[in-house]
Amino acid sequence: MSTISAMGGIVRRKEDPSLIQGKGIYVDDVKRRGELVAVFVRSPFAAATISGIDASAALELDGVHAVYTADDVRHLGPNPAQVAVGTLRPLLADGSVHHVGEAVAMVIADNRYIAQDAADLVFVDYEPKDAVVDLKEAFADTVQVHEGASNTLLTWHGNAWWEGVIELPDPSPGIQAAKERDDTVVVGLEMVNQRLIPTAIEPRAVLAEWNSGYGSVELWTSSQIPQAVAGAIGVAFGIPFNKVRVVAPEVGGGFGVKLNVYPDELLCCFASKDLGRPVRWTETRREAGFSSTQGRGWIGTATITGTRDGKILGYELDAICDMGAYTQNFTVAIPLLGLFVAPGQYDIPTSYALHCVVTNTPTTDAYRGAGRPEAAYYLERIIDAYAREIGMDPADVRKVNYWKPDQFPVTTEIGLTMDSGDYEKNLDALLDRVGYEDLKAKRDAARAEGRLLGIGLSTYVEVCGFGPSALAGLGFSWAGYGLPTAFNGSGVVRVQPDGTCTVTIGTAPSGQGHETTWAQIVSEGLGIPMENIEVRHGDSVDSPTGVGTFGSRSIAVDGTATFEATKRVKEKAATIAGHLLEAAPEDIHFADGGAHVAGSPDRSVTWAQIAESAYQPHTLPEGVEGGLESSVVFSPPNATWPFGSHMALVEVDPETGDVDLLEYWATDDCGNVINPMIVDGQLHGGIAQGIAQALFEEAIYDDVGNLLTASMLDYPLPAAESLPMFSLDRTVTPTDVNPLGVKGIGEAGTIGSAQTIVNAVVDAVSHLGVKHIDMPLRPKRVWQAIEDARN
């Protein structure tokens, strides 16, 4: 049966049949004749100078082809795709190392077993130095990560890079005055938002094949941004972009960790060029902890000044943000993204200072939510503490301070425009659904029996759908790094000569179901059945103008480009069908796999007939060109601002501190929805991540910079047994920044959830005197907090 899908309907995914049969192609599944394997020699020290490298024993091993060090690759310069703040990362450590796991040499051999043996035979002379891992110590510059340079790269609140673009007001005098009034309360908390290891289940993988005959290179890489990788290769090797092809086939989870151009991608290209053979590298799980980016890592103080009846007069956030040893793609921009949403969905004066500080640890960068979960965490935790202090219901405090629907579009204090929102309606929908009053009564009754039940609430707003190419000046674009693309999206819709349709988009999904969602958009537009639509993505040659999948941007940007391209194809098809049916184009409408004349449904042609005519130009009316396709590049006028409300019910075991998550509810609003099934799935995964951060995930370094949680044994991920079923619902407040009215959903679950859990746990034990517990809320910590409060 053919399905002409309506947008907004549940449709099983087009990508699934291959994936559930093990036929999906991920980078490590791709084979090239004569390929060699790379393994990296990595630093065991977090800070050291390198006085010599001896690779002779490794080179003697049978099957070893080369061992490369900084000397061999210095001419390529540093990775071109990094923000030029602080010390730029060389492709291989050059004279010194700055975190455990930094790549010092690259071994190339016949297979992974030999390459690993050889890597163990590369002897490196290190002279260890003092390292700094603690954020406050790093901020104090007692030990410098990069000699002769302050550890603080910049502070986001008003520096030259940013100020030139948007005038940043300083509301602190007003906040200061409010603090001095005697009818106000001031509530402040220092809180840690701990480092996390993204841990996509597919490790990163790379396969490079240089062709000296064509002077071209093809790179397969597990990436969210193949076009940016292609740009970086072009810049590093000085070859034209039309000689570079970067393919991201199936990608086994991204979450931000694959939103980077990594040295290993460029190094495999180099080795392939040098040796004339394809070169592959596949990250091991332990390496993923050392060499790919990590997320979060803030320590900060949030302070609210407000009246006793819940009006917030000032919100201050002062945090040190861990950049790791180097900056990569968006490293310093992540706190800025947090700043964009620091005041949340509230009309409140805000003052902030986010200090971007380097430490002797692997680089941080975007990770599921990227800056926005951190910002939401600080704000929504401190609002809860403030509500408790003034004895008001946390839901009511939020309502007092929300932007009201008639105030939109809202210009935020730092000059961004929020498109649309109805926060109170969204929160009320959640409160009604969970039966908030009854739930509170249930909690109180349990408490009277000595059980520790807690309810946690968080609401959030996020900024996503990047983005306007005008953001280039703020670093939210690769154009800022000399790569040939600003942010925008693309969609190419082509009806093939047989009436089937090929859609090519600028994204590179990693599980978000783009093939299905985009096929729905085109199927609804053209009336072509879903199964006759193929959606292609993740190939820098196919879709040269896209920038990939991240920041919940794909549907709002590339989706819109595709929607516009669909409209243009439809217009042309109407002209052709009108000609074939001897009717005016205005009278043609599309349904059931073809075109019909309004009022006389028997007069119709199929898409195959329209396409046949399109590709035989002599059959077309005069002035109509052959072919049936449209290519649209779309730069949205603004970002989008989804929002939502989350709630959890937990029970804390007073004897052990163990937290049992009993229920989780969320009511989110991401504007219009194309496929509710996919949207809910995205939320499930995001919520799971936030719960895991709240309860157990943490990247732990010792004092000298060893990562103690590099394996999955030491870094607990949520397993099926640690999570409940989630109860989801939504409100729909469309945006007007794109014609689909869609906002984005990929990160919403994560942004809304960690503080929901912490608020719930603190609620469960606050009557015992506990004010705050830092994440992750492992049993011992919770137990200790209860003990400390009791004594």
């Binding site: 559930i20 049969q21 093990g22 077993y113 996509a200 490790p203 199936e250 397993a719 099926a720 999570l723």
Partner: protein, 166 residues
């Protein structure tokens, strides 16, 4: 060393280095790339296959240890073009996103249902405890297995295609 392993009903005789892991044998020597590698600690379950009826993490077993045994991988669970009920369940209930954990998840679910054709929610969660998924939050995986269990018992799974509410 020479090994003889039956994989998805076909007998393979092969020369392997003694240290070759079963997962590398399947992927690199037989080209059965449906079995994935997600970690090096035996922890993620992406590499799960069924050896003589039991779910096994193929990164924790050498190919030589599989000598004389029968191995089933994700490529072998469908009956020709007809999907296994577990595969159908994952498709119907949106039990996968990136799909990388999915082959291992499917093999663990197949083994689970072969031992218990009517598991409760907590038995399902326990049964796939050794398989990590970073995308789905497990909500829809649980529903997928429930769908398959109804199917295998000859009952009609509740709810419409793709329906998400539990």
């Amino acid at each position: 060393m020479e090994v003889g392993i039956s994989v998805n009903g076909t007998d393979y005789r092969s020369d392997v280095e003694p240290r070759t892991l079963l997962v590398h044998f399947l992927r690199d020597q037989l080209g059965l790339t449906g079995t994935h590698v997600g970690c090096d600690t035996g922890y993620c379950g992406a590499c799960t296959v069924i050896v003589d009826g039991r779910a096994v993490k193929s990164c924790t077993m050498f190919a030589v240890q599989a000598d004389g045994r029968s191995v089933r991988t994700v490529e072998g669970v469908a009956n020709g073009d007809e999907l296994h009920p577990v595969q159908e369940g994952f498709w119907e209930r949106h039990g996968l996103q990136c799909g990388f954990c999915t082959p291992g998840m499917i093999m663990s679910s197949v083994a689970l249902l072969e031992h218990n054709d009517n598991p409760t929610e907590s038995e399902i969660r326990h049964g796939i405890e050794g398989n990590l998924c970073r995308c789905t939050g497990y909500h829809n995986i649980v529903r997928s297995v429930r769908y398959a269990s109804a199917k295998l018992r000859g009952e009609k799974p509740e709810g419409a295609s793709g329906e998400v509410a539990p």
